[in-house]
Every structure is written in C-alpha cells, then in structure tokens.
C-alpha cells in the first residue's frame, strides 16, 4: 500500500486511536506516545493489512498489542488502588435517573478503571466508539463469543459498581 493511501485510510480513525490510547494509559503524554508509536508500527506493517474495510480493528489491535507489550516490559510503578471498605448493600433505585442526568462521570471513570482491561476496552469500543462485535473481536484478538461475554460481564460490573457507589452516597451527608 502506498503511504498516501495508508494516510487516507487511517486519518478518519485518528480520534478512536487517540481515545483508546487515553483509556489505556494514565497520562496525556503517555497516550500521545502510545498513539504515535502505534501509528508508526501500523505504517511499517501496512502490508499485513489484508482487507482495508477492516482497517479500524486492525489499527486498534496494533495499538493495544503495543500497549500490552510495553506493560509486560516494565514493572508497575504506580501505587495500586484498593477498596476503602466493603459493602453488601443492595442497589438503590434511582441509578437509572442518575445515569440519565449525567451526574456520575467520576464514578463511571472509576468504575471503568476498576474493570479488567479486556472488559473495559471491550465496553469502551462497543458502547462509546460504536464498533461492531466483529470489530471489537478483531481489535482484541479474540473470538466474537468472548467479546459478548466480556461485554456482558463489564456492563454487569459497572451497574453493580455504580449502584453500590450511589447507595454509599445516600448514607453521606
């Protein structure tokens, strides 16, 4: 593939590349580094792209694999977060209203961060970026059935996390 053709095909997907890089990393600088290195790697391996119709999934797979390889190569240096306390309380009833009102953005971000990476990425790509199951599967190098179950677990975990968080909020002044 000619470089110009590669650029023409990739340009519409810079946004999704950037946002996935932001989701996978912890700082804007790291996200920028990851996205740029991902683009370079995709460019160098563009001959391996068999079907240009599937370029979005292929680009995202390149980016995610690069990120996972980097993680394997370096020991974590950030302090890992733990739970403040356990609660076995049942969900409160107004979660849906709070979701509709958009007042849970901090909780959503924290909930996403607490999911396993493969679940949060699947949920992000499907729910936010609007990828099909097949594209998510391609991006993550997994069968479509695995994507379905990851999505289901991710959504259930998010609903539970948000419900418990809002219940806890109900007990605070």
């Amino acid at each position: 593939m000619e470089p110009k053709e590669f650029a023409r095909l990739v340009e519409p997907h810079l946004g999704v590349i950037h946002r996935l890089a932001r989701r996978l990393t912890r700082t804007r600088a790291d996200a920028e580094d990851l996205a740029q290195e991902g683009l370079i790697r995709a460019f160098e391996r563009r001959s391996s792209l068999r079907d240009v119709q599937r370029i979005r999934g292929w680009l995202l797979a390149t980016l995610r694999n690069l990120h996972l390889n980097r993680l394997r190569d370096e020991k974590p240096h950030l302090l890992v977060l733990g739970d403040v306390g356990e609660t076995d309380a049942e969900p409160r009833g107004d979660l849906e209203r709070e979701l509709q009102d958009g007042v849970l953005s901090d909780e959503l971000l924290l909930g996403l961060r607490q999911l396993p990476e493969e679940q949060s990425t699947a949920l992000w790509l499907r729910a936010v970026e609007g990828l099909s199951y097949e594209e998510v599967a391609e991006s993550m190098g997994t069968p479509v059935g695995t994507v379905r179950s990851r999505l289901s677990r991710a959504r259930a975990a998010m609903i539970e996390f948000l419900s418990v968080t809002k219940l806890a909020a109900g007990g605070e002044s």
């Binding site: 340009e11 810079l14 989701r23 302090l79 849906e96 958009g102 499907r126």
Partner: protein, 265 residues
C-alpha cells in the same frame, strides 16, 4: 421463551440479538427494564468528556510525516527514551530517611474559624468517587513500604517540586503550608490519571495533598466541587487555587484542622 440471560439482553441493546429475543424483550416488562438500564449506561459512557475528545494535532502531523518519509520513528523513540529515563529516575529516587517527629502543633480555634471563612464549601462536596479514590490511595500509601507514604522523603519543598516535575513530566510546585511540615512525595493515580501527591504531617497526623495536572480528569472533578467530605474516618477537602489547578487534601483529621492547614498556605 423464559427471560434471557444478561448476555442476550446486552445483545438486544446492541441490536445483535435474534428476533425471538428481541420480541421477548418487547413484551416482558422486567427484561425491558434490564435493557433500559444497559442503554442508560451506554449513553452515560458516551457522554463522558473523553468520548468526545479530538486527537491532538501532533497525531495528524505524525501521519503526514510518515507519508512524507520523515524520520518520525527516531523522533518518537527519542521522546520515548526521554520518558523512560525520567521514569527510571522516578523509580530510584534518592531517599533520605528520617523518623516521624511526633510533636503536636496545636492549631488555634480562632485560626480554624478564620480558615473556614476562606475555604468553606461553595458548590458542594467532592464526588464520592473522587473522595474514595483519594482515600484509598492515601491509606494504601501509608500502609506500604516504610509507612511514610512517600517514594522520596524530604522537607525541602523545592527538592520535592523538582523530583515531582521530573517524575511526572510537567511543572509542579509543592505548596508551602505553614501549619504543617513536609515529609515527602510520591506519584500516584487519581481517577486513573497520574497525579503528584505530597505528604505532610501536622501534629501526629499525616495527610496527603494531591496536585492533579491542569486539564486532567481529576482536576476537572475537583473544579466541579469545592468543599469537604468525610468518609471512612478520613476528611477529603478540595482546595481552590486561583493561580492554578485545585488541590485535594486527604487526612485523618477533623475538617476544621485540615482547613486550617490549607489556609496556612
């Protein structure tokens, strides 16, 4: 058909279920409610600021550079090497150990009241997600390693400012708080983004001050709420800084005491 599994309900929401499942959800109030909740979750995720974030111009410039045959790889690798060097420096800081000095400073009630007048809650408490994240981080840090909660220990605010700036890759100025003594600093994560944390002591209490970078998710969360919240025995206060991003303070201290210390800065 009996009520389908969560996975099938998810497929209905995604428009990927078969017609039998779709028809069931149409008829069944309970399943409609389950699907509705998932739809609302998706919509809330789509409304996150990050969901609408445009890529930086540098990414398009990189693409143009690739087409033009520029040596973008060496530039990117050079930047990566610089980051790695900084990260290595951050992981192996020079540690100067010192013991906890357990002297009570005794904050005056008059000062506390005066401080509250300055930084009393304005628009509501910090969100519980932000507060819980900060508390988790604070408690975990104090319970790790030597118990100081620091990666580097120093009472010199300029030394800590330099270390944090180097470790996190942006300018950080450690606040000077007359009502507290500096212990050290660490890099940590707040709402998923890397943030500087500075540890102080006041009397027998240690508290953390988080300095989220401007434009970060944590900074935005702080900007949405000024004030204090008490959770799990800890007090969390957002402190507005007219000259920059707000701070977040966390400690096992009464709200008044924490506010007094903040006001001494």
């Amino acid at each position: 058909m009996s009520c389908p599994s969560d996975e099938i309900i998810g497929e209905v929401v995604d428009g990927a279920a078969d017609s039998v499942a779709m028809a069931h959800v149409e008829r069944c109030a309970s399943c409609r409610s389950r699907a509705s909740r998932l739809r609302e979750l998706d919509l809330a995720l789509q409304a996150l600021p990050l969901a609408g974030e445009a890529p930086p111009s540098s990414l398009a410039a990189m693409l143009r550079g690739l087409v033009a045959g520029d040596d973008v790889r060496s530039r990117a690798l050079g930047r990566g090497l610089e980051s790695a060097t900084k990260a290595a420096a951050a992981r192996a800081p020079h540690r100067r150990r010192h013991g906890w000095v357990r002297t009570a400073t005794g904050l005056g009630a008059v000062a506390a009241v005066a401080a509250l007048l300055v930084i009393a809650p304005v628009t509501g408490s910090p969100s519980l997600a932000l507060a819980d994240d900060a508390i988790s981080n604070h408690l975990l840090a104090l319970g790790t390693g030597d118990g100081s909660g620091c990666q580097v220990e120093s009472e010199d605010r300029w030394a800590l400012s330099a270390w944090l700036s180097d470790a996190l890759g942006h300018e950080i100025e450690v606040p000077e708080l007359a009502g507290a003594t500096l212990v050290g600093a660490r890099r940590c994560s707040l709402l998923g983004e890397e943030t500087a944390a500075v540890v102080y002591r006041s009397g027998e209490s240690a508290f953390s001050v988080y300095l989220p970078p401007k434009g970060s998710v944590a900074a935005a969360a702080c900007e949405r709420s000024t004030g204090c919240v008490e959770r799990a025995g800890q007090t969390v206060c957002v402190i507005a800084d007219p000259a920059g991003s707000p701070w977040l303070m966390v400690g096992e201290m009464p709200r008044l005491d924490l506010c007094s210390v903040a006001a001494s800065g």
